[in-house]
């Protein structure tokens, strides 16, 4: 009896951590919300990197750290959601492919700022603008 309770508790804990979606539509909405959150962080970083010369290094570092944590947090949270179907799994993979690219881009910029400054602001702005557009399109299609 005690073992059954322990197993139940373990299942509940795992389920709690990975927050399952009720159905395909629920999963799709979660994906759209994640795209919106990552898109917001990416656009904020784009604006900051675009004005690189006007910002102090400590300020830019704090801003990028916050954005990197936000994107990573969303990726971890959405990555933990169990897709209810094969279609949902493919949708999730499509989103994660973009958001992981965003995570890598923001983390890379943060490393550059920690060392000195953004090496190629114009290139970074172009990359972030592209990611932002893709994420917004995803959000509009599935939100």
């Amino acid at each position: 009896m005690r073992r059954r309770w322990a197993a139940g508790l373990a299942v509940a804990l795992v389920a709690g951590c990975s927050s399952p979606a009720w159905n395909d539509r629920d999963y799709e909405l979660k994906a759209a919300e994640s795209a919106e959150a990552v898109g917001s962080a990416v656009e904020a970083v784009r604006l900051a990197v675009g004005g690189d010369g006007r910002l102090t290094r400590p300020y830019l570092k704090v801003l990028l750290t916050g954005a990197a944590e936000q994107v990573q947090g969303v990726n971890d949270q959405f990555g933990g959601v169990q897709p209810p179907s094969e279609r949902a799994r493919r949708l999730g993979e499509r989103l994660l492919e973009v958001t992981e690219r965003a995570e890598k881009a923001v983390a890379g910029l943060l490393t550059e700022v920690r060392r000195d400054r953004v090496a190629d602001p114009a290139g970074a702005v172009r990359e972030l603008a592209g990611l932002g557009r893709t994420l917004r399109r995803f959000q509009e299609e599935h939100g």
């Binding site: 919106e36 917001s40 604006l47 006007r54 102090t56 290094r57 300020y59 704090v62």
Partner: protein, 409 residues
């Protein structure tokens, strides 16, 4: 000339002291999501705080007693205790938000994690409250808060589409991708930010601290009726900056770093330095005001000696209350809870408790036993009653809207 200087200084202090972490967060957040379509709430909130702050200043000047001092006497101990309980919890939450805000400003200036700054900010705040004269602390941080005028300069430099901002402001409706419940949830948060309850506790107790008499009524009125609306202009500038930079880019502001970004983009490094100084002064000054307000409210309810016009030894329980509130608030921020989130919740809870704060002010301002010939006139009563009805509606709607919109998500 001396009186003119006094009035000018008071007005400048009121402008700089008007904005705190709640106004910063609420206006930047709302500007980034709703543009200027909630500007009417800021105007309404400024009118509301002017109406009730004028009443509480008049109460202090005529009766020579602070509002909370009279609440228990006028409404009885039970009603006073309900009022005290609600206000005190919100005050403690607000102190946490303000300490967090000041620490975040230091993080932006230095790049050192805000959690390292939290104990230092709390200790400095306690030391200032313990050692520095009331008038000095009010003036220094109020005037330093004027650095936030850089939001207006930055807005000008950003070269926004003024016509579009005006169109948003004159069309009070949510944008296409935002729902009506979320719109009203943020309207309530904005109103909570503009009409923060501690402002009347601090204003009326401050009047007693500075020994106001009937002769000071004109100065008090000038501070409120000129200083607060100009402070409201700063709030609108914060929202307009966010609407100009973030709304087209679909950025939903969620950190202090993002809130000041429009200033850096518009006014460069000098602007960035000024806005960080302004945010620090506004939040640190508000930490002092809110922590003192918690000491005022508890001491006035229980009839303890209070105030900075006596030596700390003579108002030991007043100073002990402040110390405990600062320690509890610091511990809350050190749990690593997001200070911006604490601010958002404190705004909504403050909005829910607004009638508890403002009803006693309206009642006492109408009581001839305390106010003699300076009771409310018809104009003040009409405005005061209209606001009470509005605040009751806001109070009923605040928590259900918070739950329904998942805190505005």
């Amino acid at each position: 000339m001396k009186k003119f200087l006094g009035i000018t200084l008071g007005i400048l202090t009121a402008i700089g002291g008007f904005v705190d972490i709640g106004d910063l967060v609420a206006n930047a957040l709302v500007g980034s999501r709703f543009g200027m379509s909630l500007a009417w709430v800021v105007l309404l909130g400024v009118l509301g705080i002017c109406v009730f702050a004028e009443m509480s200043g008049r109460i202090a000047a005529v009766s020579r007693r602070a509002v909370f001092d009279l609440v228990r006497e006028r409404l009885g101990p039970r009603a006073g205790l309900v009022n005290l309980g609600a206000s005190f919890l919100i005050l403690a939450l607000t102190v946490a938000a303000e300490i967090g805000g000041a620490a975040l400003a230091l993080e932006l200036a230095t790049g050192v994690d805000y959690l390292v700054w939290v104990p230092a900010v709390a200790f400095a705040a306690w030391l200032v409250m313990w050692r520095v004269k009331f008038e000095t602390l009010e003036r220094v941080f109020g005037l330093a808060g004027l650095a936030l005028v850089i939001f207006i300069v930055a807005l000008w430099q950003l070269g926004p589409d003024w016509g579009q901002l005006w169109e948003q402001a004159t069309r009070p409706a949510p944008p296409r991708d935002e729902g009506l419940p979320t719109y009203f949830y943020y309207a309530i948060a904005l109103l909570g930010g503009a009409m923060t309850p501690y402002e009347v506790f601090f204003f009326s107790s401050g009047g007693v601290e500075e020994k106001w008499t009937r002769r000071d009524l004109s100065v008090a009125r000038a501070n409120v009726l000129v200083g607060f609306p100009l402070g409201g202009l700063l709030s609108l500038a914060i929202a307009a900056c966010a609407a100009t930079v973030f709304l087209p880019a679909h950025v939903q502001v969620d950190s202090l770093g993002q809130m000041v970004l429009p200033v850096a983009l518009g006014a460069g490094q000098v602007g960035l330095a000024l806005v960080i100084l302004g945010v620090f002064a506004a939040t640190f000054g508000a930490t002092l005001e809110v922590a003192l307000s918690s000491g005022y409210s508890l001491s006035q309810y229980f009839g303890w000696q209070w105030g900075k016009f006596v030596r700390p030894r003579e108002a030991a329980r007043f100073h002990a209350t402040i110390l405990v509130v600062v320690i509890v608030a610091t511990a809350l921020v050190l749990t690593t809870i997001d200070p911006i989130m604490v601010t958002e919740y404190s705004l909504v809870f403050a909005a829910a408790a607004l009638p508890l704060t403002y009803l006693p002010v309206l009642l006492i301002a109408n009581d001839r036993d305390y106010m003699q010939d300076k009771v409310n006139g018809r104009f003040s009563n009409t405005l005061g009653t209209a606001f009470m009805i509005l605040l009751i509606v806001v109070s009923i709607a605040a928590i259900p809207l918070m739950l329904a919109t998942k805190a505005g998500q």
